[in-house]
Amino acid sequence: MRLDDAPLSLRQRLANYLVIIAALAAITYGFVYRESIISATFPFVNREAGISARYPARWLLDEGGSRFVLRAQDPAALPFKTTIRLQLIPIGSGARPADILDLLDIDRAARLPAYRSLSRTPTVLPGGQRGQQMIYAYAYIDPNPFLQAEPITVRALDLVVLRTGQAVVITYEAKADVFEKHKHYFDAFLRSLTF
């Protein structure tokens, strides 16, 4: 069956165009599908603390009782799991967000190796609450000595917002080189956060 110069029938042309259109559509939908899986979230509600949010669906959720209200970690981010943490700190009547950051600063400087506070800026949450954010960095050393792992530079962000008698501290931690890349998870978390 030779086709060298024969014009193609309508069916042949249609079948070929269908493949091209379907391939382009499938690849485009592949990108959409990728976004839908990456940005899929599960709801988190803690009625006692009066907090609700949505965390990334693929992340592991931990509710830590008195230590923190919520901690979500990305199990696929290795060697340091990207983390979003929310904790409540009781405060006195005249406390300001900067005081809470000072407190966290002192605590972390003693606890975390090579801890450095990098910047502090006033910020507004997507819900309209005003607060203050602090960016800092430290060296994470794997507690398991048998792994013989090198220290990892972790970059983190604290966001402090005050409410009646409590400071809400929202922390985002990631390995320094993926801090910006994974920050969209934290931004999406903030957009869904209500308290």
Binding site: S9, I20, G30
Partner: protein, 298 residues
């Protein structure tokens, strides 16, 4: 005086010599050799606890990436050149397959970065995700390479289509394997197993594209046939990734958390056996049906 009987030599029936290269025979031989070499490397290095310098291991991995191409050249291409009617443009199609893989498939796949977001997704999501991304890109590129190069001029029989599709797949797999060898630092055995799986999956799936492209040559082709072929090829590609990942961790026990890469060959073997058998049956059945129909018309 004795007379010797005069014997007439019966007339010898001239058997018609098959003018083309037997595609399936050489394809099976290449697949079996590739599997045997990969398995020998995997078991051999484990048996003698072979430890090579990292640079040498990378160089050997790179050399292994070229093994499917070497086997194809020494078995299929040599047989093709010995045939009475060789297929002329196999090398050109092979080069185009390699170019499509390195120029389009590799960059697109790295943009998708499917392993980053699909590795923890559910089984169904992984199959859909890999079909729409990696599977579709690979299947469509091979379709495009064949459709816009030799489809008009060189697809004279269904086996031509299969032979050209396999040549495109060998080029495609070689480019993927070279990229794999250059961007991964694995032990020689692990790299060999992974590259064998890549090559066999590409080669086993490619006849589907060839088969539907031959159907496309008929003016009365069912318009969805080529599309279904490309979708099925993309789905098989996705299944080969997802099931392989499941197989290599299937050996995990309470005493060890290490995975076993050799189980991954199971999927490649399955694809080769099932797809080669199914496609050779389909090609033969379709050819016989067409021959019967042609006989009835006469």
């Amino acid at each position: 005086m004795t007379s010797r009987p005069y014997l007439l030599t019966p007339q010898r029936e001239e058997s018609e010599r098959y003018p083309y290269r037997r595609v399936w025979r050489t394809a099976w031989l290449e697949a079996l050799l590739l599997l045997a070499i990969a398995a020998a490397l995997a078991f051999g290095t484990r048996l003698i606890a072979l430890r090579l310098p990292a640079d040498l291991e990378r160089a050997l991995s790179f050399a292994y990436a070229l093994l499917p191409l070497s086997l194809w050249l020494s078995i299929s291409y040599t047989a093709e050149r010995r045939a009475l009617q060789p297929r002329r443009n196999l090398l050109a199609v092979l080069a185009l397959g390699g170019l499509a893989a390195s120029g389009v498939a590799v960059p697109l796949t790295s943009i998708f970065a499917a392993e980053e977001w699909l590795s923890t997704a559910s089984g169904l999501n992984r199959i859909i995700g890999y079909t729409l991304t990696v599977g579709m890109v690979h299947a469509f590129l091979k379709y495009a390479v064949l459709r816009y190069s030799v489809w008009r001029t060189d697809f004279n029989t269904r086996l031509d289509a299969v032979a050209y599709a396999m040549a495109a797949a060998v080029g495609f797999a070689t480019a993927l394997n070279i990229h794999f060898a250059l961007t991964n630092t694995l032990s020689l055995a692990s790299a060999a197993l992974r590259m064998t799986e890549i090559a066999l999956a590409q080669i086993a799936i490619s006849p589907i594209i060839g088969f539907v492209l031959y159907e496309l040559r008929k003016p009365t082709v069912f318009v969805l046939t080529p599309l279904l072929g490309v979708l099925i090829a993309a789905l098989f590609n996705a299944l080969s990734i997802v099931i392989r990942a499941g197989l290599i961790v299937s050996g995990i026990s309470r005493t060890s958390t290490a995975n076993n890469a050799i189980y991954g060959l199971g999927m490649a073997v399955f694809l080769v056996v099932v797809l080669f058998s199914a496609l050779s049956f389909l090609v033969r059945a379709a050819d016989e049906r067409e021959a019967l129909r042609a006989g009835e018309v006469r």
